[in-house]
Structures are given as structure tokens and as C-alpha cells.
């Protein structure tokens, strides 16, 4: 699996950069080493949205990617402990009221809690919010859920304050993350299983090849769909895609000729 770690602040990212030996890629702004990448999103929903959009179009294989948002959060005074890390099982967007529920399928030993994503930092309204409060998670879930199944969206938050601090810069976020780095590492490790990846039949190169054939032969829409459908059947039953190059070498001179060849292809793929 590939991992994309998301933090709001550079200080939150530092312990992760060190332990995974991540190096900054100037082109993408991602910190990368092997199968782990890290993106610093900035604070707040707007900055996060803009930053995430900038990487959506990168050629990342989202079907094989786990997103893990790691960061500090304000915690409800009576229910949370400063320095403790929590696994988020419900995210509420304070502005829209939308609720996001990750699928938690993998074992972990953390306490689970609800997180509310707010527009502005909370310094004196602690009674209004239950659980934890951050400023990015709902945006991350909402945006990535178009690309990634919700069992591959993970949110880990470490309580930095009880929503009573006026200037967040006074928080030693780096140290809070550093103290939990081993647990974070173990959680990442537990998600490193192929069981979580998307199951595809034809890969991109195979689909592109079939599309190329369709264009060359000017197949009808129905024929193009049938070609992919039957190729999937063939690969699923035989383990590999059939080499159809023989049929597509020439160019048909008429629709009748095309249809005749296509019938042969269908017969071949159905065997």
C-alpha cells in the first residue's frame, strides 16, 4: 500500500519526516520516501482544500493509497487528556452540519472519539463541542471520499489543549507528535495490507489498449462496452488479457467488415 500522511503544520510533520526519512520533492511539495508521502496542508478548511486539490491530479494510484491525517486537536475538558492520541470515528463539519463516518476495519488500541471541524480556532466555547475539535478533517474526508473508499481514510488526533489556549503557537505540537511516533508507526504498519486496496480487473494500460482498438476500428458504443466486458470475463477466468492484436492489425473498409471481425473477437473472448 501507499500512504499519504497529511498534517496541517510543519512542526506536526517533522517527527514523521524524520522517522520515515522523507525528502521534499520540490515539484509536488510532497515529502516522499518509498511508499510514504507527506503533505503539509496548512491550517483551516480553505487552505486544506486548495492544497489537496493541487495533488489530486498527480498520478497517484488512489486505489492503493491510505490517507492518514495526523495532528493536534483541542479536546473536551472532562473527556480527554492532553497528550493522548485518539482514533476518530465520526467527523462533524461545524459549518455545514455534515457528518462523515470513516469505516474502521483495522485493529487498533486507541480510544475512539468524535471530532468537530471548525472554521476558527476555539478558545472559549469548549462547552459547545463534545470530543475533539480541529480545523481540517471534514475537508479531507469530503474531498478524498470521491477518490478513496472510506476504510482508507484514517484520522489520528493528539489532544494539545482543552480549547482554552489563545495562541496555538504556544503549543509544542512537534513534541506531542514525537511522543506518539511509535504508535503512529504501528498503525501505519497495520494498514499496510493488500486486503485494503481496490480490486481492479483490467489495469489502465489494458483499458487504454482496448480503447485504442475501439477507436481504430470505429467500434460502436455498444461494441466498445462489449469489448471491455468480454475482456474482463476473459482475464478473470484465465488470469491474463488476451492478445487481440491479430484482429486489429488492419483497418476495416466497411461497417460490415468491422462487424464481421468483431463477431470473431467476441467468439474468441467467449471461449
Amino acid at each position: 500500500m501507499n500512504f499519504l500522511l497529511l498534517t496541517a503544520l510543519k512542526v506536526e510533520a517533522n517527527p514523521l519526516i524524520r522517522i520515515f526519512n522523507l525528502k521534499k520533492d520540490l515539484k509536488t511539495q510532497l515529502f516522499i520516501h518509498k511508499n510514504i508521502s507527506l503533505l503539509i496542508t496548512g491550517i483551516g478548511k480553505d487552505k486544506t482544500k486548495a492544497k489537496l486539490k493541487s495533488i489530486i491530479d498527480l498520478k497517484i494510484n488512489w486505489g492503493e493509497t491510505i490517507i492518514i491525517n495526523i495532528g493536534i486537536a483541542g479536546g473536551e475538558n472532562n473527556k480527554t487528556k492532553i497528550g493522548s492520541m485518539y482514533f476518530i470515528n465520526k467527523i462533524i463539519d461545524d459549518e455545514t452540519g455534515n457528518i462523515f463516518l470513516p469505516d474502521i476495519l483495522i485493529k487498533h488500541n486507541l480510544e475512539e472519539i468524535t471530532l468537530t471541524t471548525v472554521q476558527n480556532s476555539v478558545t472559549n466555547e469548549s462547552s459547545k463541542y463534545t470530543g475533539l475539535v480541529d480545523m481540517e478533517a471534514s475537508t479531507i474526508f469530503e474531498l478524498f471520499s470521491s477518490y478513496i473508499t472510506s476504510h482508507r481514510l484514517v484520522f489520528l488526533k493528539i489532544v494539545s489543549d482543552h480549547m482554552d489556549i489563545l495562541d496555538w503557537r504556544s503549543i509544542d505540537a512537534e513534541s506531542l507528535i514525537q511522543k506518539k511516533i511509535e504508535i503512529i508507526s504501528k498503525i501505519i504498519n497495520s494498514y499496510n495490507t493488500k486486503n485494503l486496496s481496490s480490486r481492479i480487473i483490467l489495469d489502465n494500460s489494458e483499458i487504454n489498449l482496448l480503447k485504442k482498438y475501439s477507436e481504430k476500428f470505429q467500434l460502436t458504443k455498444t461494441q466498445s462496452i462489449q469489448l471491455i466486458f468480454l475482456s474482463e470475463n476473459y482475464k478473470k477466468n484465465n488470469g491474463l488479457i488476451i492478445d487481440l492484436d491479430l484482429y486489429f492489425r488492419g483497418t476495416p473498409k466497411s461497417k460490415q467488415e468491422r462487424n464481421k471481425v468483431f463477431d470473431k473477437i467476441k467468439k474468441h473472448l467467449s471461449t
Partner: protein
């Protein structure tokens, strides 16, 4: 980084509870049954069950439970694909959505985007709806037949929540109501203390052991199902046998012949209410949706025909199924008691 071993949470590690559902007895019973489950309160079960970006087969590795309050309708008239067993007033309801089992030919994978299980805790509303429907059914001289296991295997759930038992008790108090409990479960023992009633049809789906192993994941073996049927028969219950779907593969005739021989030799025919036989058939939309998720099963990558938006096997194969079952069962049960859905 080392590759992890299987680290999936056990089924029902999490229970999602609708705020409205908290006050119901079934909710209380369920939470008591799973004291270590993590409870997540939600306002509407659909926000979890119907959310986008779900992976049915991955979720099957760690199924979550959702406790919700069902909104109307509480009862549905039968569909064309659902077998009505020859009854005119045939209905189904949905006390539970989704199933503990994972049969690869099951339409539930196409019907729902989630593999998680929804239990509707307002049992009384479902019962009230049946009472009302009893009064306005289209054929008043015929009983109302209600399938309670259409979108689930309710008996498989009996050790978790005794919902089948509740429905049996309900049916026994109502005239003109017959309940069909379709199952692959071997949990009849949990109901064996009940007095036999001709208002209940227990319908066991049976398949050759090869199909149980290859296609009916997480279900009891054929032997365990047969033992459960034998227990039910010994207690005086009448049983419907379902061979649905009959799966076609090399040597299917031999396997199904052996299965039928075994049944003929082990289940006394006087205790068999009737027999239904069906083949693989699925609405095209569900079929395509399941296919897209690339399940491990090969069932969705065979050469089916599309017959009025229903994906099914060829007419010749259907005729072969009918011939085999008719010939094998001829001396076991009268022809009018065999219902073919092919």
C-alpha cells in the same frame, strides 16, 4: 516496512446507533449482547449505510452493526424475482438489511453499497403494518404469506437477537398469516423449544457441498443444514426445500443428483411442504454493480444472457435443470409441489 498480518477487527466491533433507536428494547438487548463494542451515535442510519465510497467485500471482513428505526413502508408486495410459492397474497418485510453470510451469487451485494448490517428495532411498527395488511389483502379468502428473510438470513441472527422467534410468536396469534423463514442456518436448535405450527414455513436453501464451499462463504456446511432440518422435522415442523440458485458448472448434474439422492434418503417426504428450484437470475443493474467491484467470485464473469434486463443462464441450461430435478424428484414428491423459477 513489514507487511501486516490479518489485522481486521472482529464483526460488530462497532455499533452505530440512531439517536431515535436508543429507547427501544431491541437496542438495549443488542448493546448488552456486545458490551465491548464501540458505540457511535448517528442521526440517520443512511448517513452510514448509504454513504459513498464503500467497499462491500472489504467491509465483509469486519461487519459493523447499525441499529435504526424503520420508516414506512413497513411491508412490501412481492417482486417478480422473489418466489411466492404459489401464494396469492405474498409479501415481504425487512426486519434486517444485509446478511451475516456472503454468498457470491447474492443480490444484496448489488442492492446495497454497504456490507454492514442494519437491524430495525421498531418491531412493533412492522407487526402493526402486517395486521393492517391482513385486513386489506387482495385475496381475502387466501392467507397473507410474509417472507421475513428476504433481505437477510434472519435465523442466522437468532443467537444475536431472537427476531425469528418474535415473528413466530406474532404469527401464531394471527389468523390467516403464514410466515416464511428462508435460511441456510444451522441454528434451528435455538428455536427447537417452540411448539410446531402450520403457520410457519421454514425454508432451507440447500446446495452441493462444493457450492457451499466455493460460493456460499461463511455459511454452515450441507451436513449441518441437513441436521438442522432433521431436528425441525423431528419436532413436527413442515419444511420447504429450496434449490436456488442451481449453479451450472462442469459435472453440476452429478453433484446435484448426489445431493437429491442424499435428501431423498435422509428426509421423509411426508414432512416436506414443497420444493422450489431456481437458477441464477439477477437484475442487470445489480449484476453490473457487483461486477464492477471485482469480487473474488467468477460467477459474474460467465456468459449469461440478458433477458428483459435480467441476467440469467441460457434456456437450454434452464431446461436441463428442470429436467434433472423433475426426474430425480418424481417419486419423492408430487409434481404440483415442485415450483420452478427458471
Amino acid at each position: 516496512m513489514i507487511k501486516s498480518k490479518n489485522t481486521f477487527l472482529p464483526d460488530f466491533s462497532h455499533i452505530y446507533v440512531e439517536s431515535e433507536a436508543k429507547k427501544y428494547n431491541l437496542t438495549r438487548d443488542c448493546l448488552e449482547r456486545f458490551p465491548n463494542a464501540r458505540i457511535v451515535e448517528i442521526s440517520d442510519y443512511k448517513s452510514f449505510f448509504n454513504k459513498k465510497s464503500q467497499d462491500f467485500q472489504t467491509q465483509k471482513k469486519s461487519i459493523k452493526l447499525i441499529l435504526a428505526v424503520k420508516k414506512p413502508p413497513f411491508i412490501y408486495k412481492s417482486t417478480d424475482i422473489l418466489q411466492d410459492g404459489g401464494f396469492k397474497n405474498f409479501y415481504y418485510n425487512t426486519p434486517i438489511l444485509n446478511c451475516l453470510y456472503n454468498c457470491d451469487y447474492c443480490f444484496l451485494q448489488g442492492m446495497y453499497s454497504s456490507a454492514n448490517i442494519v437491524v430495525f428495532v421498531n418491531q412493533n411498527d412492522l407487526e402493526d403494518a402486517v395486521e393492517k395488511e391482513l385486513l386489506i389483502r387482495a385475496f381475502p379468502r387466501e392467507p397473507l404469506v410474509l417472507s421475513i428473510s428476504y433481505n437477510t438470513d434472519l435465523m442466522a441472527f437468532e443467537n444475536i437477537l431472537p427476531i425469528t422467534r418474535s415473528w413466530i410468536n406474532f404469527a401464531n396469534k394471527k389468523s390467516d398469516l403464514i410466515i416464511e423463514v428462508r435460511t441456510k442456518s444451522s441454528l434451528f436448535s435455538s428455536l427447537s423449544d417452540l411448539k410446531p405450527s402450520n403457520k410457519i414455513i421454514f425454508s432451507w436453501t440447500l446446495s452441493p457441498e462444493r457450492i457451499v464451499r466455493m460460493n456460499e462463504f461463511d455459511t454452515p456446511t450441507l451436513e449441518r443444514r441437513l441436521s438442522s432440518i432433521q431436528l425441525a422435522i423431528s419436532k413436527g415442523w413442515k419444511i420447504r426445500l429450496c434449490f436456488d440458485p442451481v449453479i451450472i458448472y462442469d459435472n453440476w448434474e452429478e453433484d446435484y443428483s448426489n445431493l437429491l439422492n442424499k435428501i431423498i434418503n435422509s428426509l421423509e417426504k411426508k414432512n416436506i411442504y414443497d420444493i422450489t428450484v431456481g437458477v441464477f437470475r439477477m437484475g442487470r443493474d445489480y449484476f453490473q454493480r457487483i461486477r464492477k467491484t471485482n469480487p473474488d467470485s467468477l460467477e459474474y464473469y460467465k456468459n449469461y444472457i440478458d433477458e428483459n434486463k435480467i441476467m440469467t443462464i441460457s434456456q437450454e441450461e434452464r431446461d436441463n435443470v428442470k429436467t434433472l430435478f423433475t426426474n430425480k424428484l418424481r417419486d419423492y414428491i408430487s409434481e404440483d409441489k415442485i415450483h420452478f423459477w427458471i
